[in-house]
Symmetry: C2
Amino acid sequence: MSRVTCDLTVSLDGYVAGPNQSLDEPLGERGESLHRWQFEQREASAAEIAGILEAGAYIMGRNMFAGPGPGPWDQGWRGWWGEEPPYHAPVFVLTHHQREPLAMEGGTTFHFVTDGIESALAQAREAAGDRDVAIAGGAQTARQYLSAGLMDELRLHISPEILGGGERLLDGVGDVTLEPIEARGTGLVTHVRYRVQR
Amino acid sequence: MSRVTCDLTVSLDGYVAGPNQSLDEPLGERGESLHRWQFEQREASAAEIAGILEAGAYIMGRNMFAGPGPGPWDQGWRGWWGEEPPYHAPVFVLTHHQREPLAMEGGTTFHFVTDGIESALAQAREAAGDRDVAIAGGAQTARQYLSAGLMDELRLHISPEILGGGERLLDGVGDVTLEPIEARGTGLVTHVRYRVQR
């Protein structure tokens, strides 16, 4: 069976986003700095970037699709990624608001799932076939799958930035046992893969 | 000039010790589990363990020497490490209580410094000669040197444990810029060396 993976970039003090997230600054203050490794040194982290993009289906939380707050959800919002999102695969968005599937260019179709994380996973597995299902984020969605024992591999990309505030990835995640299976670094990030033990 | 280094083991959620530190449990609940890499797989992390023990002088906080609370400080306390502590070098203990130097077996002498972190560093540099000065801990002492711009290299040993509470290393450390210079992992820990930029 395909695996359930999750790639997340965190600050050295454990934040996935800085303080004061907003529509203008969806990653919060200084949150963009966490992702320098994906933009400034793509070659140095080519394998990890490829790993993020190779899943057969993705699952994301409502905030990752539409941002915090009431926002533009009911106004024909088509995501943050322009007309050709980078997923090139079905993306299952967890939400309480029903909506018809939204087909974008390049193979990405957003499906809106209103009956919970297990249903989203079943649908994503079906869509992914033999390929992996990736939990795309945000942190709250990742925590839900991790806490529920529904994730096989957590891949942390640990930035050297110290944000000092914001949304922490692992707070309240509960009793989870992780085993490091691979670690390597560049001048901008430390990549660590963890197997989630059941 | 010799460098100022600091080795610290942290949980994946950023804690150096679990909740409810006490004389019986100086690392707090489940805090001992962070250090499994130093006891269960010494060979796999031999270089890092050697790195911890090669300094020419050490600096530690009062709590690391004597534990939290009023404790046994004035009762002839000789540290946690038995008659032959593992430092084999001068150790400068930051405290508000004057006390005569305490010579132990194997070359460790505890010196008690009452006039602050810069004085302790000057004395440790003098004692270390060409060798490095290591900030031995605890977290509060490490933060003080880091925030004051007096540390050259921070070496984090990131355990896969999630403690969910306790004392966090980097909370309140302020505006510090770190550059990862080496990362590698074992099945129990991820070792990352950071250069502290001035």
